[in-house]
Point group: C2
Chain length 364, copies 2
Amino acid sequence: MKFNKILENIKNYEAGKPIELIVREFGVEPKDVLKLASNENPVGTSKMVVQALKKSANKAHLYPDDSMYELKDSLAKKYSIKPKNIIIGSGSDQVIEFVLHAKCSKNSAILVAGTTFSMYEIYAAHIGAKVYKTPSKSHNIDEFMEIYNSKKDEISVIFLCLPNNPLGECLDAKEVFEFIKSIDKDTLVVIDAAYNEFATYKDSKKHISPLEISKLKNTIYLGTFSKLYGLGGMRIGYGVADENIISNLAKLRPPFNVTTHALIAANEVLKDKEFIKKTLENNASEMVRYEKFAKKNGIKFINSYTNFITYIFDDKNSTQICDTLLKQGIILRDLKGYGLNAIRITVGLPKQNKRVLKALKALI
Amino acid sequence: MKFNKILENIKNYEAGKPIELIVREFGVEPKDVLKLASNENPVGTSKMVVQALKKSANKAHLYPDDSMYELKDSLAKKYSIKPKNIIIGSGSDQVIEFVLHAKCSKNSAILVAGTTFSMYEIYAAHIGAKVYKTPSKSHNIDEFMEIYNSKKDEISVIFLCLPNNPLGECLDAKEVFEFIKSIDKDTLVVIDAAYNEFATYKDSKKHISPLEISKLKNTIYLGTFSKLYGLGGMRIGYGVADENIISNLAKLRPPFNVTTHALIAANEVLKDKEFIKKTLENNASEMVRYEKFAKKNGIKFINSYTNFITYIFDDKNSTQICDTLLKQGIILRDLKGYGLNAIRITVGLPKQNKRVLKALKALI
């Protein structure tokens, strides 16, 4: 059986190792496994969500409301936009997929930062679109501008990850909006704001407003419920944009692309102010712990506007460190696959972070 | 903003109306709404699943095990196949999407029955692939063979929906396997078996064995947890095929394409023999009620091997009937959009079916 040639160049995405796999591979007790590899919310699942899920557990046989009326209504109110400015995806990942399929072809290209979220490149490969990367690993808006100007006819989508995963840096909103102004009206700029709430909490200059984005004709804002809102396991995210963009992307949305329970949970967690506050506060204070440790131990790190921190090593090998920690039941994300001798660590709860840093101290 | 030309020809899928929408539109009390439009399991959610979902409600923040180890293991045991013969999708719909993207292009075509599951055509439109339909609405294997032989160079995927949605008829397994034998090794035959458990229960000659399919080099079996297993709201299904087919489709699978809870629920419901038995028994005995009513009232119907029955009307208008019932809170699926003056009714519980037939009796 032959398949489309495009498949020959596609490799599968390597996800963070799930707890179950570590338990199976190394015989670590499940209670002793600590996973700070996938930027899941360490506070857990919102209690309001837990209650709502328990109450609706007996509705698993019922298809979701494919109009997604309630969730769109809640998001519209939250951002002072209209439901027609919103598309819901199975994670914001799926909205990235819609964007690529709607705008790109074998003859077009996307433009991304040197080191950024791998799904942009993966979905581009599904279509055979070319990928241009800036020479700098972090977002450098001048480099974006320069490449865009020289390849304007080819580049149909530009991805800005704000803040950037897996590095953690974040452009100021002001320079982002100035950049967008200079981009052609037929080039779609994607503002991936999966972690933007963390950035905004740390520094209001980093805040990207979905309302402002929705007024532009060539830009889409992506948000997710996987990070701040603690619903990574439920696969739900969204895009906010001008109605023309949303209605075109909606043509590629499969019916029932999110679950009945994901809609319930997402709608519920938006109301849980206490959970959101606790998540942001824990992240901010525990980030300081990681920064202090790095400074004290001569580890380089990138100032992070997210819920993770990236440690960059000089002489020690990041893969060896991760493998050793793995056998102790500590799962972190080695960034060797991104060409970096670095480790991405999700900021956990105080006790979790103490354990990680103690184990790390013994290896460096 | 311009989009790929392909989007100009795409219309959105019209899903069955959710209960919430009826409540909003006609002011019907939620308790009085009866939805038999989407072939959801009328027995409800398995009690074992409800317990498992309640127990895992606090795991919503954790990404799913992307290896899907446990569910693949359970399915492999159930069908005497290997995990590498299985791909899990967000509903079997998503596996259809993978197939189209892996095998088709603007220059190729798919072959389907005259009236069948609309997603084949919808996903083909996403790629711009041509759709050939047999003249007969139901599956006629001679017509499939004839069109295939005359368009062999173009047709890269053939869909057989066994039993067929939305009509209900089902080919015998014997003629299906004979048909597959005469199909080129580079044409992928998709056996959509979403309702096959119901067909098998009614007549063992309709049973398609995933094990037998996995031994072929050019065929894939699609199964779902949405129908017999009562997990429509959780979006989970699967494909079973030769390893070469599965590994190629897997290249197009987005990471975390099903939820943490869907994996738990699917794995759990496979063990709930009582729920499965009750679902099959209710469906078989209540199907007889619908058949008797039709015969007594001169309504044509298609002998159904599924969990729904399709009533075909002569002088009465199916749309008018559906609209009138809708205002009473009864939601059925009008098939006018398929070019049929017919209504598809999901077989419900005795009390539900009595209510539908009483309301219908008053209109015909």
